[in-house]
C-alpha cells in the first residue's frame, strides 16, 4: 500500500515536468499551428536562467588567503561574493541560497522576451510552410541555442541547489499514519508539483476567464473566422508564444535543483514531451496535462522491481508502448480533435 502510494506520488512529480512542457508545446501548436522542436531548448534556457542568476549573485572578488595554498603551492585565492560585502555575510549567503526562487522572477521577462524574439524573428515566416520545414528550422534553432549555452557554460552539469530549508525530505507517511521511512519525499519535488499545478491552473484560468483568452481559444478553434471578424489574431498569437516560452522556462527554473542543468537537458525531454503531446491529442490542452501525469505515473510504476522482473526491460519502453497502444485504440490521442495534424 505504502509502496503504491509512493510510486503514485513519484509519478505525479515526474508527470508535472512532462505536463508543463507538453502544455507549452500544445499552446504553441494549438494557437500558431507550429511544431516547435525548440521547446526543449526553451526548457533548458529556463534552467540556465537559474544558473545565470546564481552566478550573477555569487559574482566575487578575490581575497588572498596566506594561510592556505592552492594546487600549485601558491597562496590560496578565496572568492568572496559581492553580495556578502554589500549586505553582510549572513544576508549575502541567504540571497545566494535563494537564487532559484529569485530566478522565477528573473526568468519570466527573459523567457517572454526570448519567446517574442523567436516568434517575430523566425517562426512568423513559417506559418504557411509545411510542418516538415517547421520541424527542421526549429530543430536547427534548438541545436544553435544549446550549442551557445554549451559555449558559455560547458558541457558538465552545474549544481543549482534549492534553498537550504527545502533541501531535505519530508516523511509524509508518518503524517498520515504509516511507519517512519515508508513514504519519504523530497520537499523541493513536492513544491515542484504544487508549482506545476499552480501554473497549469493559471494558464487554464487565463484562457477561460479573460477576453484575451477567449479570443485565443476562438482562434485555436477557427483561425480564419476570427480573422474575418477583424481581430488581430497574429498579435495575440505572438503573446501566446511568449507565454508558452515562459511556461517552459518556469518549468526549467524550478527543475534546476532537481537535476543539475546541462546544455542537452532539453533534448532529453524533447522526444518524451512530443510523445506526451501526441498521447494527449494534438492541440488539446487538457489532453496534454492528463497525458503528462498519466505517463509519469506509468513510468514510475514500470520502474518498480516488481514490474521489471515480470517484464524485463519494461521500464525502458513503457512510454513508447503506451503511446502505441493509445494511438491504435484512440486515433487522435486521449482528447485530440479530428483533422489536426493528420496531413
Amino acid at each position: 500500500m505504502d509502496a503504491i502510494l509512493l510510486q503514485i506520488l513519484n509519478g505525479l512529480d515526474k508527470g508535472s515536468a512532462y505536463a508543463l512542457i507538453a502544455l507549452g508545446l500544445t499552446l504553441i501548436f494549438g494557437t500558431l499551428g507550429v511544431v516547435n522542436f525548440a521547446h526543449g531548448a526553451l526548457f533548458m534556457i529556463g534552467a540556465f536562467c537559474a544558473v545565470t542568476l546564481q552566478k550573477l549573485l555569487s559574482l566575487s572578488y578575490v581575497v588572498i588567503d596566506e594561510t592556505k595554498t592552492d594546487f600549485m603551492g601558491n597562496p590560496l585565492k578565496v572568492e568572496m561574493p559581492y553580495v556578502a560585502k554589500w549586505f553582510g555575510p549572513e544576508i549575502g549567503a541567504t540571497i545566494i541560497d535563494w537564487s532559484v526562487p529569485l530566478a522565477i522572477l528573473f526568468s519570466i521577462p527573459v523567457m517572454i522576451a526570448i519567446g517574442f524574439a523567436i516568434e517575430r524573428g523566425l517562426i512568423k515566416y513559417f506559418y504557411r510552410r509545411p510542418h516538415a520545414d517547421q520541424i527542421l528550422v526549429t530543430f536547427g534553432l534548438a541545436i544553435v541555442l544549446q550549442e551557445i549555452v554549451k559555449y558559455y557554460f560547458g558541457a558538465n552539469p552545474i549544481p543549482t541547489p534549492a534553498p537550504d530549508m527545502f533541501a531535505g525530505s519530508i516523511d509524509i507517511g508518518m503524517l498520515v499514519g504509516f511507519d517512519p521511512n515508508a513514504i519519504v519525499y523530497p520537499s523541493w519535488r513536492l513544491i515542484y508539483f504544487a508549482f506545476a499545478a499552480l501554473i497549469i491552473g493559471g494558464v487554464f484560468a487565463f484562457l477561460q476567464f479573460t477576453t484575451f483568452g477567449m479570443v485565443v481559444r476562438a482562434g485555436m478553434a477557427d483561425r480564419e473566422t476570427v480573422g474575418l471578424l477583424g481581430i488581430n489574431i497574429d498579435r495575440r498569437f505572438t503573446i501566446m508564444f511568449g507565454i508558452a516560452a515562459a511556461v517552459a522556462g518556469l518549468a526549467g527554473v524550478m527543475y534546476a535543483p532537481i537535476n543539475s542543468p546541462n546544455y542537452h537537458m532539453g533534448m532529453d525531454f524533447l522526444v518524451l514531451s512530443f510523445v506526451v503531446v501526441v498521447v494527449g491529442g494534438m492541440g488539446s490542452l487538457p489532453g496534454a496535462v492528463l497525458a503528462g501525469f498519466l505517463l509519469g505515473i506509468l513510468e514510475s510504476f514500470a520502474s518498480t522491481t516488481w514490474a521489471t522482473t515480470t517484464i524485463p526491460g519494461i521500464n525502458q519502453v513503457v512510454i513508447y508502448l503506451v503511446a502505441i497502444i493509445v494511438l491504435l485504440a484512440r486515433p487522435r490521442g486521449l482528447m485530440g480533435r479530428k483533422g489536426v495534424m493528420e496531413d
Partner: protein
C-alpha cells in the same frame, strides 16, 4: 590485406630489413609497400587523439585533449618537460619520438561507437595516425580497440573502466592504463568494511549496459566477501535523467547502503536525487545510511556539487597524490591551463608518454615491436607510483585511490579527498579471472597491418 603467417619475432627481423628497403624512392607507392600501417615518413610522426568533443562528455574530452597536447609538447622538448624528468625510463630525449617531431590530429567520438570508429578511421586513413589515444567510455574503447587491431595501429585507451576492455575484449594492439571495475571493488571493500562495518545491507542501482553490469558484479562480489548482504540490484535505463522512481523505494527496502553504479550525467543525477530524498540524514537498521559511488571523476564531483560530501568512491589518479611524478605533472598542467588535471587527463597524458617511450625503447614504430616493449614493462614517475603493464592482458597494475567527497573544500579543485591508497598487490587478479573472460580470453595475434 592478407593474413600474415609470420611470428612476431620474425616480423621484427624482417621489419628491420624492410626498413632499409623503404629508403628507396617510389613513384607509385601502394599501402602495402610500407612495412606496417602508416609508417612515419619524413620528419614527423602523427598521433591521433580521439576524444568526445560534443555530447555530455565534451568537458571530459576537452580535459583529455589538453593533457594530450601537453604530452606532445613535452615529447618535442617544449615546456618544462613535465613527467619526462621523473619518468623511470630515460629513453625519451625531448626530441620527438626517434627523432621524428610529434604532431597530432584530433577527432570527435561523440561518445558513440560508430562516430568514434569513423573519426578513428579518418585519422588512420587520411591523416596517417600511427596510434590512437583517448576516449571516455568503455563501449567506445572496445569498438576503437577492435578497429585498431584490424588496421594494425596501436590503441592506447583513455578512460575506460569496464572489465571487458582488458577482459573478454582484450586485444594485442590495445593497452589500458586506467583501472577497472574489479580494482574499484577490491580497493573499496576494505575501506568500506572499516568505515561502515561488516554487516551492512547494500542496494545497487546500476546503469543498464555492459559497463554497469561489470561494475555491479565486481562490487557485489567484493562487498559480499567482507560480509555484506546485497538486498537488491536494480537496473536503470541509460537514458534516464530522473532517478526518483528508483530511489524512492530504497529507504523502505531494509538496505542501509546505496551503491550507485553510474557514471557521468547518470551519476550526477542519481546522487543528487538520492541526497534530495534525504537518504544521508536517515538511520536504517540502527546505522547511518551511506551512499557509495564506486567510480568517481572530478567533473562528476563538480556536477553533483554539495551532494558528494562524505560519499566514498575510487579513482585512478588524483592530483593531490604526493609523489614526484604527480607533482611534476600537476605543476606542468597547472601552469599551462590554470587548473589541476583530472584523472582522465592524467591517463591520457601517461598513455602518450608510455607509447612514445615504448617506441624509443623498441627503436621502431612497428606496433608489434611497440607492444612487445610495453608488455611486462615496469615503470614509475608518471604520477601513479610504481606500475606494471601486464603482458597477459595489457592492463596496468598500480595503486588505486579510495576518495571521499570533502566536507569543507577550499576551492573548486579539492572537492575530493584521498582516504586511502590501496597498494597494487591488493587489486591484482589472475589474467584468467572469470570476470575477465576466464581462460578463453586471448589477446590474439599482434597486427601491424603489413
Amino acid at each position: 590485406m592478407s593474413k600474415s603467417l609470420l611470428t612476431r619475432r620474425g616480423l621484427l627481423k624482417t621489419g628491420a630489413v624492410a626498413g632499409t628497403g623503404l629508403a628507396l624512392p617510389t613513384i607509385f607507392t601502394t599501402g602495402s609497400a610500407s612495412a606496417f600501417t602508416n609508417e612515419p615518413t619524413g620528419g614527423t610522426v602523427t598521433l591521433g587523439f580521439n576524444v568526445p568533443q560534443t555530447g555530455p562528455y565534451a568537458d571530459e574530452g576537452n580535459d583529455e585533449l589538453l593533457a594530450q597536447k601537453l604530452a606532445v609538447e613535452h615529447l618535442n622538448g617544449e615546456g618544462d618537460g613535465g613527467c619526462l624528468n621523473t619518468f623511470s625510463s630515460k629513453a625519451l630525449e625531448g626530441n620527438g619520438i626517434l627523432g621524428h617531431k610529434v604532431t597530432f590530429v584530433t577527432g570527435d567520438t561523440q561518445t558513440k561507437s560508430d562516430a568514434a570508429r569513423a573519426s578513428a578511421k579518418s585519422m588512420i586513413e587520411k591523416d596517417g595516425a600511427i596510434m590512437i589515444n583517448g576516449g571516455s567510455s568503455s563501449g567506445v574503447a572496445v569498438a576503437v580497440q577492435g578497429l585498431c587491431q584490424d588496421a594494425g595501429i596501436m590503441f592506447m585507451a583513455g578512460l575506460t573502466h569496464s572489465n571487458d576492455t582488458t577482459g573478454k575484449d582484450r586485444s594485442a594492439n590495445g593497452f589500458r592504463h586506467f583501472f577497472n571495475a574489479y580494482m574499484s571493488g577490491a580497493a573499496l571493500a576494505p575501506v568500506l568494511a572499516k568505515e561502515m562495518g561488516k554487516d551492512r545491507r547494500a542496494y545497487h542501482l546500476t546503469a543498464d549496459y555492459t559497463w554497469g553490469w561489470t561494475q555491479e558484479e565486481s562490487i557485489v562480489a567484493s562487498t559480499e566477501a567482507i560480509g555484506w548482504e546485497t538486498v537488491n540490484t536494480v537496473k536503470t535505463p541509460l537514458a534516464s535523467t530522473d532517478f526518483s522512481s528508483y530511489i524512492a523505494p530504497v529507504l523502505n527496502s531494509g538496505a542501509d547502503v546505496l551503491v550507485l553504479n553510474h557514471y557521468g550525467g547518470n551519476m550526477v543525477n542519481s546522487l543528487t536525487n538520492a541526497v534530495q530524498f534525504g537518504l544521508l540524514d536517515k538511520q536504517v537498521n540502527g546505522k547511518d545510511f551511506k551512499i557509495v559511488v564506486p567510480l568517481y571523476s572530478e567533473l562528476m564531483a563538480a556536477g553533483a556539487g554539495a551532494a558528494i560530501k562524505g560519499v566514498l568512491g575510487s579513482m585512478n589518479y588524483n592530483w593531490q597524490l604526493d609523489n614526484e611524478g604527480s607533482k611534476a605533472f600537476v605543476k606542468s598542467f597547472g601552469e599551462k591551463y590554470g587548473k589541476p588535471p583530472s584523472n582522465s587527463a592524467q591517463t591520457c597524458y601517461a598513455q602518450v608518454l608510455l607509447y612514445a617511450d615504448a617506441v624509443a625503447r623498441a627503436g621502431s614504430f612497428n606496433p608489434c615491436a611497440v607492444g612487445e616493449a610495453l608488455e611486462g614493462f615496469e615503470f614509475d614517475g608518471l604520477g601513479n607510483g610504481p606500475t606494471l603493464y601486464r603482458a597477459e592482458d595489457h592492463q596496468c597494475f598500480k595503486d588505486v585511490l579510495v576518495v571521499r567527497g570533502a566536507q569543507n573544500p577550499t576551492s573548486a579543485y579539492d572537492t575530493l579527498e584521498i582516504v586511502e591508497i590501496t597498494p597494487a598487490a591488493q587489486v591484482t587478479y589472475p589474467p584468467n579471472h572469470p570476470m575477465f573472460g576466464g581462460d578463453e580470453a586471448s589477446l590474439g595475434e599482434c597486427n601491424d597491418g603489413a
